[in-house]
Symmetry: D3
Subunit: 226 residues, 6 copies
Amino acid sequence: MTSRGRILVINPNSNEAVTAAIDAAARPFRFADGPEIACVTLSEGPFGVESQKDADSVTMPLRRLVDEATDVDAFVIACYSDPGLQVCREAGRGPVFGIGECAVATALARGDRFGVLAIGRRSIARHMRSLRQTGAIGRLAGERSLDMSVAQTASGEGTLHRMIEVGRVLIEQDGADVLILGCAGMARHRPALEQTLGVPMIDPTQAALAMSVGTLLAARGVSPIE
Amino acid sequence: MTSRGRILVINPNSNEAVTAAIDAAARPFRFADGPEIACVTLSEGPFGVESQKDADSVTMPLRRLVDEATDVDAFVIACYSDPGLQVCREAGRGPVFGIGECAVATALARGDRFGVLAIGRRSIARHMRSLRQTGAIGRLAGERSLDMSVAQTASGEGTLHRMIEVGRVLIEQDGADVLILGCAGMARHRPALEQTLGVPMIDPTQAALAMSVGTLLAARGVSPIE
Amino acid sequence: MTSRGRILVINPNSNEAVTAAIDAAARPFRFADGPEIACVTLSEGPFGVESQKDADSVTMPLRRLVDEATDVDAFVIACYSDPGLQVCREAGRGPVFGIGECAVATALARGDRFGVLAIGRRSIARHMRSLRQTGAIGRLAGERSLDMSVAQTASGEGTLHRMIEVGRVLIEQDGADVLILGCAGMARHRPALEQTLGVPMIDPTQAALAMSVGTLLAARGVSPIE
Amino acid sequence: MTSRGRILVINPNSNEAVTAAIDAAARPFRFADGPEIACVTLSEGPFGVESQKDADSVTMPLRRLVDEATDVDAFVIACYSDPGLQVCREAGRGPVFGIGECAVATALARGDRFGVLAIGRRSIARHMRSLRQTGAIGRLAGERSLDMSVAQTASGEGTLHRMIEVGRVLIEQDGADVLILGCAGMARHRPALEQTLGVPMIDPTQAALAMSVGTLLAARGVSPIE
Amino acid sequence: MTSRGRILVINPNSNEAVTAAIDAAARPFRFADGPEIACVTLSEGPFGVESQKDADSVTMPLRRLVDEATDVDAFVIACYSDPGLQVCREAGRGPVFGIGECAVATALARGDRFGVLAIGRRSIARHMRSLRQTGAIGRLAGERSLDMSVAQTASGEGTLHRMIEVGRVLIEQDGADVLILGCAGMARHRPALEQTLGVPMIDPTQAALAMSVGTLLAARGVSPIE
Amino acid sequence: MTSRGRILVINPNSNEAVTAAIDAAARPFRFADGPEIACVTLSEGPFGVESQKDADSVTMPLRRLVDEATDVDAFVIACYSDPGLQVCREAGRGPVFGIGECAVATALARGDRFGVLAIGRRSIARHMRSLRQTGAIGRLAGERSLDMSVAQTASGEGTLHRMIEVGRVLIEQDGADVLILGCAGMARHRPALEQTLGVPMIDPTQAALAMSVGTLLAARGVSPIE
């Protein structure tokens, strides 16, 4: 491990604006002595991961990036669909965290039944397959789509308003008591959503950063009790 | 929230040595600008939480402690059985993390099937009931007892040797690829176990600290991207 | 065992009117040679068990009551949330039946999918956690709230009408073919509800009495076949 | 309902000795004012229900018996495989209890994980299919065969010894904390097994009698509280 | 095995028109060298299998038919409720396929979540019990009734229109991406439904024929690679 | 659809000997008027799919092959790990069958609990993740490794002997009553294994061929009943 430890957060799409938003989400997790957190864009990635093809197209490039990384102590794959998670773990270069998996795990420790806000409908079946694989699908209250394009979600006010609207349905109709933002790069809306909706709101990138930072801190060991 | 944020870690048993070990586990999670982490002993607690009576005896004292706490932004209940978790959440004084729940959630994001090292046999049925409640019991490879007293586990070498022995059975016979230390106060053995056994080893206190620190950091919000 | 056997039914709230209603539900279960059935009020209990705090506040008093009981062959905890069930079992003073657990078990033997009538919304999440723990949540058609106060439910006509209304939704929309009255002390409405709704209606106290009386009768043994 | 209520317990096999043993198991459930309990033999039944053919051969005769019964308020099908349970319920002549279903339901209210003692291996797959249908298979610790013929089990000492032996394996290796006798007519061994093995031992006929007697008693209604 | 192999498809109801429709569904599965496929009517069967009594009334006649069959290499029970499946398998006369089980199995390999079109409401609870037994109920999007009589479904246009209507609800509201025709003898509507609804549409008889033909072809063995 | 219909079976590894064995498994499924079955090798594939990297490396080449295929009515991906299944389905070029998924689905229709013979240990965790995703993992008796290299399995006698040995453990210890050959290209051992072990033995390629042939035959439609 490097002295402070170093986390590489990989945005698997090639949209630099998303990487910048991920980097912003990471800012509160940077400390003087804490692990370094670098956010990079997968240049081979599609502009957004919306289809299964998009997701599968990045698995081997992600693996190569992981294989070639030097001075990295933990990896975060910053796409809610967790593309390439297993193949990157297999590389044996250090812990690999998928933000989707970390968000669901964190939601299990914050409430009873979780709801997910998805950008579009197409992703929901893909997320459901992942969730069945986790074995925790019994805790899902529901996943609902914002029915927005990535461009729309990037623009501001309208997005927040729509998120609140869909979040209310997840809480009131589906019975969710904790919500997950089902994509990377929306962390700036997290505090407002949490305050308005009154339930814990999980940003998946930050959930993964909490776990990866925690893993590197724990790796520093515990000095004997004097 | 206080300026840095403050986490109160409560050891529900009255054994100060365990609180000291919890405090040692917390040390790597303390940073200049990071949340303050205070570890306290529940004076009304039993000397160890071994029976259901021990667990149930601390729920109301824990609630009182939470109700009366001032300047606390998040709570951690530092006993693997998560006594009082729901009643403390109900207090509405801030997020409450149970180290058992956090350890299982973290294990789900580190491997495929998790194993648990329990101090004694009596706790296993209690843990199984909790685990059925999480809905994630399908990911459990197995839980096995060290068959040691708390006094024995506190003493060193012998404990580590026994943990390695039982950990190997969980990995080789039960198929675990990630392990959880099923009690508080054993974090000092974590690095050696992880290195010897070759699978991620989760200390539950540290898993809860990662999540609670992450929650407070995320609460700081994300400044707009310039 | 005492000659006839003796069952202690404990109302964990301090509302004597509820104890009286429980005692009324027990009347048909009293026979000349059958087990004695005594109904007592937990004086330390809250006036009603509505919150998690209410539920957790009675676990230790229940345990003490069980520990100190003499000439008791089986215990019934007469609150649908089954507070203190595990800790009272651990006392080793005889079988302990929780009316919530017994009601669900009985419903499994009466129909295909069960519905639950809850007094208020607050209790539902607590019941869901218990139900996930039983492993039988796949048989739940739904749980719906009467949205009444305990005072209102105690008053008569209006309660029955509301129960019929909510029961119909559980049957027609949720697909329940057996219903559970999700609280103690409502047994007097059971026959009318069953007749009006046309599906088996389970009173939890009576479900627990059936099992506890049965357990004591079975304990008398079976004389050899002549 | 007849004045006291009447329960018809049907032994679906034509072995009168088994009916006599069932009748013996019913004896403690007969009271001065309690429901009458009549035990009858299905004359068309096979000598024992060992195969699926045996089980399926009795469904229509059981239905006819139920259709033609007069003055019966509840039915018990006294074979652990619960043959004809659904078709007899469909007759709409009153509640129908299957002893297998009642035994499992009762076990859920007595312990955490249940074990089943089966007479022979052939029945286990059939029982597993039923158990998957109940949705409660997650609570099964294991089912193990005595590997005895019905003739052998009828004879005494040897049976008890073998039951203790197999029961110990279910408890110690499989983790059961409550056991079910997986056939009708063995109730006379129940008390000795319970005492020797130290866990609750459920006789399925008695479990069904407890529920059916309870159902008829509850049907008497609850007089208003004076 | 006979030289080509022979499959006996049994319609368990005595409605010859249904047998003719089953035979029509089988036509595309008949080939010059392929297995012979004979469709027969169970003369003892009811005119339609609508109740549990109907279903249970055919199990023993089906077993006799299987026991007495000569020159048959595989059996298909052509009723969506799979009556007599286990007892016919037990006969040991060759593989026995239930069209309900085969339809569900095939749906698992064609989509993510399946919907079922049932003729009437009465059958749904029966199908749900079967589905819980398969262990694959987590993949069910929903089952909805056409609310038609068998006579109505036999008549044409109106049936197709109603199927499309209910199919749309299963897709749009329940989230199904593959549909099953929940009865035998409707295969003629399959292509039009598939084209109109845009998701794979499974006819259960054809699903069972695919598996049974495949089983007989596989039984021919694989000559060594030259 | 081409007149007869055409199935493209793709071996995702570049080992031509495996393609030849797959082609041999397909031979019994070729008929005069039946669908054409072409078996091709994915030239970009690794020599064998043993790691997650191997599996992920073929997903995009498989999608390209599917995208560019002409005159193909159904696709079969002939690797037990089902690489690229979702992304190939998304192409919208026709039904895509994964041999792993088809083998499990077929096993559900042949027995109660299935066992899987894996070539090596590394694949088992990968298969388990897939199986959890199917939702049918409750029907798994066990998966056990032959602990052989692909080269060894290709050689004959030794392989069969080892398969019988491991198959017996799956049946006798794990309780399987139907077995799956957990890789492509072993169909030649199927009949001998089935005969020796006495339970249905599923070759996954043949399971997928049965379903894909059936799908194309069903697509021919059903002429109206004259």
